[in-house]
C-alpha cells in the first residue's frame, strides 16, 4: 500500500521535511519510488514570478533534451530559469537519467490575448505534445507537469534516498504545498507515469488503496475524448481526472467531488436537504463511482488542499496542524514528523462522509460532511 504525506504552510518549506515524514511511515510500503508535487514555489537562486509556467520532467537522453529545447522554442516559449538539481547520479537506481528538468518559461507573447481557459488548455496540450513526443521516441522524454507554480518529480527508489540524490535536502527549492507518495506502481511494470501524484491542469491528487472500478471509470473518461484524459498506467490516475472533471468541466464546487466518487446511499439521499439533486448527480456520474478502499489527497491551483476517504478504508488518514500550517498523512506518525508541535487532540481522522478542505489561508480546516447542505445555490 502506498504511503501519502501532504504538508501545506504559509511559509515555504523544504520538500525534504515531507520526505522525512515518508521515512517515518516506512513500515508497510516497499519504498519502490517517489512522487513529489510542489506548489507555491520559491527558489534560492531565482526570483520566480508565479504566473510563469514550470515544466517538470526527465530527459533520458541528450537528444531528447535537444528536441525539448527546439519544441519549446518553436512554440514561442522563452526560458527564464533552468533549475539545476545537485544530482548524485550514483544514488539513482535507474541508469538512463540524462537530466531532471525543472524549467520556468515565459508564455508566448500572443497568449497575452488568450482567455484564461484557452491558456489552461494550451498549457495542457503542450505537456501532452511533449509526452507524446517522448513516447514516440522509446520513452526518452518524460513530462510530469507544465503549469504555473507547480513542480513535479518522480523517480524509482527509496523516497529519502531519491531526495538526497536530487539534493532536495539543500533547501534550494521550497514550496508552500508539498505532496509526496512513496511507491512506484508495482502492480504492473515500472512506469514513471504510473507514479502518483497525478496532475492535470493545476489539479493534483494522490491515492492509496486499490480502485477496483478502474476499468469502467477509465472507459467512461476515455469516452469523453477530452485530450487530457489519457494515460491510466495506474488505477489511481482516474481520481485526478474525476476531480478535474467535477471542478473544471462541470463547474461544481469541491464538495461535489465526494458526492461523485462515493455518493450516499439512496435511503440517505432521500433524507438529504438536496436529495433530489444529489440523486440525479449520482445517476449521471454513476460511472465515476470509485470502489476502494481509497484515501485521496489533492491540491488545487489556489493552494486549497483536500483529503477524502471511502467507506472501506479501514485505517483512516490523519490531518493535524495549527493555523498557517497543516499536514495530512496516511499514517499518524507521518503527521507527527511533519508538524510535531501541534495539539494532537485536535487531529482529525475523516470518516466516509467527510471532505477535509484546507483553504488557501490555512487558518483552519473545514470538515465538510456529505450529509450537510450542499453549497451549490442551484441545488437549493
Amino acid at each position: 500500500m502506498c504511503r501519502l504525506a501532504l504538508k501545506t504552510a504559509n511559509e515555504p518549506f523544504s520538500p525534504f521535511e515531507v520526505l522525512q515524514a515518508m521515512e517515518a511511515m516506512q513500515e508497510g510500503y516497499d519504498g519502490s519510488g517517489l512522487g513529489l508535487l510542489l506548489r507555491g514555489l520559491e527558489f534560492i537562486d531565482f526570483k520566480y514570478n508565479s504566473k510563469n509556467p514550470v515544466l517538470s520532467g526527465i530527459a533520458h537522453t541528450e537528444k531528447a533534451l535537444h528536441r525539448l529545447n527546439d519544441f519549446m522554442q518553436n512554440k514561442g516559449f522563452e526560458l527564464k530559469y533552468d533549475h539545476e538539481f545537485d544530482v548524485d547520479i550514483s544514488r539513482i537506481e535507474a541508469g538512463d537519467r540524462h537530466k531532471y528538468f525543472l524549467r520556468v518559461y515565459k508564455q508566448p507573447s500572443p497568449w497575452a490575448d488568450f482567455s484564461e481557459q484557452k491558456i489552461e488548455n494550451e498549457l495542457m496540450l503542450t505537456r501532452l505534445a511533449l509526452r507524446r513526443d517522448g513516447e514516440e521516441h522509446n520513452g526518452d522524454l518524460t513530462v510530469f507537469s507544465f503549469w504555473p507554480d507547480v513542480a513535479m518529480i518522480k523517480e524509482v527508489g527509496w523516497p529519502l534516498g531519491v531526495g538526497k540524490a536530487l539534493g532536495l535536502d539543500a533547501d534550494r527549492i521550497k514550496s508552500r504545498v508539498c505532496m509526496a507518495q512513496g511507491r512506484q506502481n508495482t502492480n504492473w511494470g515500472i512506469n514513471l507515469y504510473a507514479c502518483h501524484p497525478f496532475f492535470i491542469q493545476g489539479i493534483g491528487t494522490m491515492t492509496n488503496g486499490e480502485n477496483t472500478a478502474f476499468i469502467p471509470i477509465k472507459d467512461w473518461l476515455t469516452g469523453t475524448h477530452y485530450p487530457g484524459y489519457i494515460g491510466y498506467q495506474s488505477d489511481s490516475e482516474v481520481f485526478a481526472h474525476i476531480l478535474h472533471y467535477v471542478i473544471k468541466q462541470l463547474g461544481l464546487p469541491l464538495e461535489a467531488y465526494k458526492h461523485v466518487i462515493t455518493p450516499l446511499k439512496t435511503e440517505e439521499l432521500l433524507d438529504h436537504p438536496q436529495g433530489d439533486f444529489l440523486l440525479g448527480l449520482r445517476n449521471v456520474c454513476r460511472r465515476l463511482i470509485i470502489d476502494g478502499p481509497n484515501c485521496v489527497m489533492g491540491t488545487l491551483p489556489d493552494e486549497t488542499c483536500l483529503l477524502v476517504m471511502d467507506a472501506k478504508k479501514l485505517r483512516p488518514s490523519t490531518i493535524g496542524g495549527k493555523p498557517g500550517e497543516w499536514a495530512m498523512a496516511s499514517e499518524m506518525c507521518g503527521v507527527d514528523a511533519m508538524i510535531p508541535d501541534r495539539d494532537r487532540a485536535l487531529d482529525f481522522m475523516p470518516m466516509r462522509e467527510h471532505t477535509i478542505i484546507v483553504p488557501p489561508d490555512r487558518q483552519e480546516i473545514k470538515i465538510w460532511s456529505q450529509f450537510d447542505q450542499f453549497p451549490q445555490p442551484q441545488a437549493a
Binding site: N187, A213, K265, V284, R286, D291, D310, Q378
Partner: protein, 546 residues
C-alpha cells in the same frame, strides 16, 4: 412371410423406441390406481385391457388346447400426437415408483414425423441445445488481494442495484436542473428482472404468485425487484393497485391488453416501473407473439378484447413500422406522453447483428430509456420449433459489441443495455448475469429461469415437456385450465420467488466481494472476467485464461 396389409404399418408408425421419451413401466409394482394416465398432459399412456394366450398341452381331446388370460396394464401411445414429452408427471404421482419416462438413447425417429397435417412443430421452451452455455464458461478471475484485503460478503454493505431509464450526460443534467427542465425518469431496481411473460401465457396462479413474491421482495426484503408483463396486459385490479410500480408493462405488435391499460390510467395509484415496447424476441426473432387458442379463456379473452378460443398471433412487426427510426420515435414518445414523461420507455429487440443500428438510433432519441436485447437462448410460451432452434444471435457478443460501441461514444451511462436469453439456463443464474453485467449489461431479464426456480417448470433443452403452448402445463404454470393451474399454490410460488432473490443477492455479494466491488454494480468491469477460449476472448475483448 405375411402380406403387407396384415401389418399395421404407415409412414408415421412408430414404436416406443422411436420416440424421444420411452415410458418404463414396472407392471409388478403397478397398483393400477390410474393416476399416471389421468395426469399425463398429452395422453401418452393408457390403461388398457389386454389379452394373452395361455398355451397348454392337452392330452384329452375334449378340451381346447389353449386358454386366454385378460390383464390390465399401462401402454405407451406411439402416434406422434400422443408421444411422451418426458415431463415425468406420471412418475411424480405414482404411489409405487412403478413408472417413469426415460430419454431415448437410440435414434429419435419422431422428429421426421412431427409435422402432421402440414403443420410444423410448435412448442414452448428454449432453443434445444443442452450443455454448458458460453456464459457458464466465463469465470471471474480478478481477485482483489494485491493491495487490499478482499471484502467480506457477509459483513460489508453492497450497492447491488442498477438504473433503468435514460440518464443524461452530466453537463446536460446540470443545465436542465438549473433551467428547471425535464429530467428523464430513472428507476433504481434490482438488476435481475423477471422477464416478460404474459398474463395469458402464464396461469392466473403463477402470475399472482410472482406478483406476491415481487411485492414481498420490495416491501419486506428491500430488494427492488420488478417484473415485466408480456404482451396481453395486466388484470385491472393490478393496474389500479400500488403494486403497479413493480411492473413493467409491455406493448407489442398485437397491442393486446392495452384497451384495459389505457382505460385504467386515470385510476392508477402509481406509475408502472417502465414500459417495454417489444419489437423482437430472442426465442422467435422476426415473429410476433403467439397465444394459441387452447389458452384463450374467458378471462384472457376479456383482458385482450378478443373472442374466446381463437389463436392470437401478433403480427411480426408493429403497424407503425415504416422505419425503425420512425417507429421507435413515435412509440416511445406516445407512451412517454401517456404517463406525463414520468415512466421510462424502452424497446426490446431480439439479438441480431443489426442490434447496434437500433442502439445508435436510440442514442439519438432523447426519450429512449434503454435497450433490452433478447438473445437466441431466450424462452417463449409458443413458437415454431424452427424459429426457436435456428433463429437469433447469442447474447454475450451482442451485448458486448453494443456496450463497446457506447463506450466509444462515451454514452455507456446514458442508455442502459439489458440482456436476456438463456440467463441461468443451467441454473447458474448469478454467474451468468454478472458475466453479462461485466460485459456491459446493466441488468438481465430472466423468464424461464424464474419459472423453473419459482414454480418447478419441468421444461429443458432436451425438449422435455415444452408444451407450454397447448395449455396443458403439468405444473399449472402456463395453463388457463383451472384443473391444471389449481395445482400451483400462489403462496408457494411467492415463497420461492423470495427464496430465489435472496439467494441471488447473496451470490452477487459472493462474486463481487472477492473482486473488491461493493460501491456500485460492476457494469463493464471487463478486467474481472476471463474465458478458456482464445477466439471468444478475442471477440469479447476479455482475458484468455488457461
Amino acid at each position: 412371410m405375411v402380406s403387407i396389409r396384415s401389418i399395421p404399418s404407415t409412414p408415421s408408425s412408430l414404436t416406443p423406441n422411436d420416440l424421444p421419451w420411452i415410458i418404463k413401466h414396472n407392471e409388478e409394482r403397478c397398483t393400477l390406481c390410474g393416476r399416471c394416465t389421468s395426469v399425463c398432459p398429452v395422453g401418452a399412456i393408457k390403461l388398457s385391457y389386454m389379452r394373452k394366450r395361455m398355451p397348454r398341452i392337452v392330452l384329452n381331446s375334449s378340451e381346447r388346447g389353449s386358454s386366454y388370460k385378460t390383464f390390465v396394464g399401462i401402454r405407451q401411445r406411439t402416434d406422434p400426437a400422443h408421444r411422451c414429452v418426458g415431463c415425468g408427471s406420471c412418475s411424480m404421482v405414482c404411489p409405487n415408483e412403478a413408472i417413469t419416462p426415460t430419454p431415448n438413447s437410440n435414434d429419435d425417429r419422431y422428429r421426421f414425423q412431427s409435422a402432421q397435417k402440414g403443420e410444423p412443430v410448435k412448442r414452448g421452451g428454449r432453443r434445444n441445445v443442452p450443455g454448458a452455455s458460453l456464459l457458464d464458461r466465463i469465470i471471474f478471475n480478478r481477485i482483489s488481494m494485491l493491495t487490499d484485503p478482499a471484502l467480506d460478503a457477509g459483513r460489508h454493505e453492497f450497492q447491488l442495484n442498477t438504473l433503468l431509464g435514460r440518464v443524461l450526460p452530466p453537463e446536460e443534467f446540470l443545465r436542465r436542473k438549473l433551467a428547471g427542465e425535464w429530467i428523464p425518469p430513472v428507476r433504481e431496481i434490482f438488476p435481475f428482472i423477471i422477464g416478460s411473460m404474459s398474463f395469458g401465457a402464464l396461469s392466473p396462479n403463477m402470475w399472482l404468485g410472482l406478483l406476491q413474491g415481487v411485492a414481498y421482495c420490495n416491501e419486506v426484503l428491500g430488494i427492488p425487484v420488478v417484473m415485466a408483463t408480456g404482451e396481453g396486459g395486466c388484470p385491472p385490479w393490478v393496474l389500479k393497485s400500488p403494486f403497479l410500480k413493480y411492473i413493467i408493462l409491455q406493448i407489442a405488435s398485437g397491442y393486446f391488453g392495452w384497451d384495459e391499460i389505457i382505460r385504467a390510467i386515470p385510476d392508477m395509484q402509481c406509475e408502472p416501473a417502465a414500459i417495454e415496447i417489444k419489437y423482437g424476441q430472442g426465442a422467435k426473432p422476426g415473429d410476433g407473439g403467439l397465444l394459441m387458442w387452447f389458452k384463450v379463456s374467458k378471462l384472457i379473452a376479456r383482458l385482450r378484447g378478443v373472442p374466446e378460443g381463437v389463436d392470437l398471433p401478433s403480427p411480426p412487426v408493429h403497424q407503425t413500422l415504416y422505419s425503425i427510426e420512425e417507429s421507435v420515435m413515435k412509440m416511445i414518445q406516445s407512451l412517454s406522453m401517456a404517463w406525463d414523461f414520468k415512466v421510462p420507455v424502452y424497446p426490446k429487440i431480439s439479438g441480431s447483428t443489426s442490434a447496434k443500428a437500433v442502439l445508435n438510433n436510440l442514442v439519438r432519441n432523447p426519450y429512449a430509456a434503454g435497450l433490452l436485447i433478447d438473445g437466441v437462448d431466450g424462452g417463449t410460451g409458443a413458437a415454431y420449433n424452427v424459429s426457436m432452434d435456428a433463429m437469433g444471435h447469442p447474447i454475450a457478443s451482442n451485448v458486448r459489441e453494443c456496450y463497446l460501441d457506447l463506450c466509444a461514444q462515451g454514452k455507456q451511462n446514458e442508455i442502459p443495455i439489458f440482456a436476456a436469453g438463456g440467463v441461468g439456463k443451467n441454473g447458474n443464474i448469478t454467474q451468468n448475469a454478472l458475466a453479462l453485467i461485466m460485459l456491459g449489461a446493466s441488468g438481465v431479464h430472466m423468464g424461464k429461469y424464474i419459472m423453473q426456480a419459482a414454480a418447478g417448470c419441468l421444461g429443458s433443452e432436451r425438449n422435455r415437456c415444452n408444451v407450454c403452448n397447448i395449455g396443458l402445463c403439468p405444473k399449472g404454470i402456463t395453463s388457463q385450465n383451472p384443473k391444471l393451474y389449481r395445482r400451483l399454490d400462489p403462496d408457494q410460488v411467492a415463497q420461492r420467488v423470495a427464496d430465489t432473490f435472496m439467494a441471488i443477492r447473496t451470490e452477487m455479494k459472493k462474486i463481487m466481494a472477492p473482486l473488491g466491488r461493493s460501491q456500485s454494480l460492476p457494469i463493464g468491469m471487463s478486467d474481472a472476467i476471463g474465458i478458456e477460449d482464445k477466439d471468444v476472448a478475442e471477440r469479447l475483448q476479455i482475458q484468455y485464461i488457461c
